[in-house]
């Protein structure tokens, strides 16, 4: 049953991704409604997937999601879906058509990448002291750090759209694609909005993490790869935030930096989560 729901979710997101790309390539009026319907159908099924995981992992309950490597991917995909759901009703609704072309394939990719890890026994190992701490902070810590990283991903999406629109404007040929992309100024506003939220949420997540390690290990830094990665992410996001505030360099360059840094951080993120098993954060 779990596999049935899992592959149903993957197929729905895959179809929505295909339609979203088609809506950009051809006449959006034909494909966009299909994307909307499939996306809104996929959301409850994706939620059911989490419940199915908890149900079919007797004894471990919610922990099977929080601590397992598959669960981590699932949380990323679900959070991104919920974020996309929120954006549909937010002030960025007009740009939603453009966001989905990048976000939906990304969610699909996360789900597909997670498939080999469904049966993986690897999980975050917690000792007795950690468990006490975990009950208090870990959910909030994970929520804020993941949310912070996801908002950084949104600014990455915005940067792609900015660069794509800028290329179209400088190409000076057809206006066909321009009508499918949001205007430069609104994308820039979105990028500032998302990087600001990314910084705040990640800061809260890090403070909670630091508090947890302080309580459990009497130190703020244990030298694990994940800790290093999160501090590095924060520094990059803070840097981009400052660059945007100071307005000392042009939007084009900031967006190039945003794009490049996200790719580096994302690669490191995958590396630290999948390949490094050392440290209390690692999936062993």
């Amino acid at each position: 049953m779990f596999y049935l729901i899992f592959w149903a979710t993957v197929i729905l997101f895959l179809s929505a991704s295909v339609f979203s790309v088609l809506s950009l390539k051809t006449d959006e009026d034909r494909y966009f409604p299909a994307v909307k319907y499939i996306f809104f159908a996929a959301l409850p099924i994706e939620l059911c997937l989490g419940f199915a995981r908890v149900y079919y992992s007797p004894g471990s309950g919610f922990e099977s999601i929080v601590s397992s490597i598959w669960g981590f991917f699932y949380m990323l995909a679900l959070s991104l879906t919920l974020l996309l759901f929120y954006l549909f009703f937010s002030k960025w609704k007009n740009q939603w058509k453009s966001f989905i072309v990048i976000i939906l394939p990304f969610i699909t990719m996360i789900l597909i990448v997670s498939a080999p890890f469904i049966e993986s026994p690897r999980k975050v190992m917690l000792n007795a002291e950690n468990m006490v701490v975990m009950n208090h902070f870990v959910t909030a810590h994970i929520f804020f750090t993941v949310a912070g990283e996801l908002f950084f991903f949104l600014s990455f999406v915005g940067s792609i759209l900015y660069i794509a629109m800028e290329i179209q404007l400088r190409k000076k040929t057809s206006m066909k694609l321009m009508y499918k992309l949001p205007n430069l100024e609104s994308v820039e506003k979105f990028n500032s909005w998302s990087i600001t939220r990314s910084l705040y949420l990640l800061s809260i997540g890090i403070i909670l993490g630091l508090t947890m390690t302080m309580m459990a290990y009497n130190t703020v830094f244990l030298g694990t790869a994940k800790e290093a990665h999160i501090f590095f992410s924060w520094a990059v996001i803070f840097g981009i935030f400052i660059l945007r505030r100071l307005k000392k360099i042009v939007s084009h360059k900031i967006n190039i930096i945003n794009l490049g840094m996200f790719i580096i951080i994302m690669s490191l993120f995958i590396f630290t989560n999948i390949f490094i098993t050392k440290g209390f954060h690692g999936f062993k």
Binding site: D27, D29, R30, M165, Q168, L169, R170, K172, T173, S174, M175, K176, M178, Y179, L181, N183, L184, E185, S186, K189, K247, K248, I249, V250, S251, H252, K253
Partner: protein, 440 residues
């Protein structure tokens, strides 16, 4: 009998017209009609064989859509009217006219209203012109059941074509393209400051387009203050008139610059462009240089946050947009075809349904009369229950007997005028054989 079900009262539809494809402007202008003339001629034609009519007279076409119960008389009356209007003998203009009937009229009106038959495919003016022509005819009670439905149908199709294809999405006018491009840079044009340099006609036109968005501030820089004042008056907006020497300072605070001034040197050099970018604190600048020779250094367009377009760039976009529109024509035609079939089914039904009802009524009448007659005499001994069985039986026999003729009528197809004539003949034969008045 219900008037709606009277087959003889349903007029056939026809069209007589000329357009930019069939007639040169020198001929078209001879047939051009103003509202007053349209009313005068069309009202007269209604006494001469036309049951319904809509006259469309634009710079690219003169068309008379009509419905009539006597096609030959109607056509002759229209041709006589056209002779009077143009002051030309019939033989001089008959070759440039197109005559269409039945389904071809439906295809034509839907194609025209959807702007597929226009000089500039996808332009939106024709829809308004068709609506106007229909509204006037309708107001003067020259339209009826057939043309009312046909025109409403064509407006619905035109809307569908505009929303479901990209035929009207990509602009073709240079001034409009410039405005659309500005909207791709800025979120809200109404918050923007515009600097117009020079008093060129195209620059003025772009400014007029932009002022539709209620832009925040307008700066006009020109050699002659008088011309700048004239432009400000033309757009009916308050504008700051500045000297050419003040352009660099005004450019820093402007978001959109339109230059149509011809000067021996660039009015904005690349170096000045750099200074403007610095002064703008990260804000983009949209520039249109429509002057020949160019007045803004093209190298300025390579600077970050500056989007510079010259007249050739705008024309390239216009050409590409036209190609995109033409690519959408096939899709639009498919939509039109589906709607034509739907409308034609309804239109055909107007002829066939009264005949079907007629036949059914006649058979029902015979059945009921015979049953009553037998009930009184030879079937007197039957119980109510037995008689009901006989009633059901006769009903079944009648339904099954009529099934084939009715299906035959419903499936009659008339694609062109010849088929239409044969269809009407067939309908008449079936009606004569089975309908009211046939069996007495």
């Amino acid at each position: 009998m219900n008037k709606k079900l009277n087959r003889e009262s349903i007029p056939e539809i026809g069209l007589l017209g000329m357009n930019h494809k069939t007639a040169p402007v020198e001929l078209r202008e001879k047939f051009s009609l103003n509202d007053e003339k349209i009313t005068q001629y069309m009202n007269r034609l209604h006494g001469e064989g036309l049951a319904e009519s809509v006259c469309v007279s634009t710079c690219n076409r003169v068309e008379i859509y009509f419905a009539s119960n006597d096609m030959e008389k109607a056509l002759d009356s229209i041709l006589r009217a056209l002779e009077e209007i143009s002051d030309l003998p019939r033989k001089d203009f008959e070759s440039i006219l197109y005559k269409k009937y039945s389904k071809d009229v439906i295809i034509h009106v839907l194609t025209v209203t959807s702007s597929l038959d226009s000089l500039v495919v996808g332009e939106d003016e024709i829809l308004g012109q068709m609506k106007d022509a229909y509204r006037k005819s309708s107001k003067e009670k020259r339209t009826g059941q057939v043309l009312n439905r046909l025109f409403h149908y064509s407006f619905k199709t035109a809307k569908k074509v505009r929303t479901e294809t990209e035929i009207a999405r990509n602009p073709l006018s240079v001034a409009y393209i410039a405005t659309e491009l500005a909207k791709k840079v800025f979120e809200d044009i109404s918050e923007r400051k515009v600097l117009l340099i020079g008093a060129g006609e195209m620059g003025e036109l772009i400014l007029k387009y932009l002022t539709k968005y209620n832009i925040k501030e307008i700066y006009l820089a020109n050699r002659s203050f008088h011309n700048a004042e004239r432009i400000a008056g033309g757009i009916n907006r308050e504008a700051h008139i500045i000297a050419l020497t003040d352009i660099p300072a005004a450019a820093i605070s402007a978001d959109i610059i339109i230059s149509s001034i011809s000067t021996p040197d660039f009015i904005i050099s690349q170096e000045q462009g750099r200074e403007i970018v610095k002064g703008k604190n990260g804000q983009p600048l949209f520039m249109i240089d429509i002057a020949i020779p160019r007045s803004i250094d093209p190298a300025t367009g390579r600077l970050d946050n500056i989007f510079l377009y010259n007249v050739d760039d705008l024309q390239t976009i216009a050409d590409e947009n036209l190609k995109n529109r033409l690519r959408e024509v096939e899709l639009a035609k498919e939509l039109i075809e589906a709607d034509v079939d739907e409308f034609y089914k309804w239109y055909e039904g107007l002829f066939v349904v009264p005949v079907i009802v007629n036949i059914q009524q006649k058979f029902e009448e015979i059945r009921v009369n015979e049953l009553i007659k037998y009930r009184r005499k030879r079937l007197k001994h039957l119980t109510e229950e037995d008689f009901n069985i006989i009633e059901d039986l006769t009903n079944q026999i009648m339904t099954k007997t009529l099934h084939n003729p009715i299906m035959y009528l419903r499936n009659l197809d008339a694609g062109n005028e010849k088929e239409k004539k044969s269809m009407k003949d067939n309908v008449r034969i079936v009606e004569d054989l089975f309908g009211k008045g046939a069996i007495r």
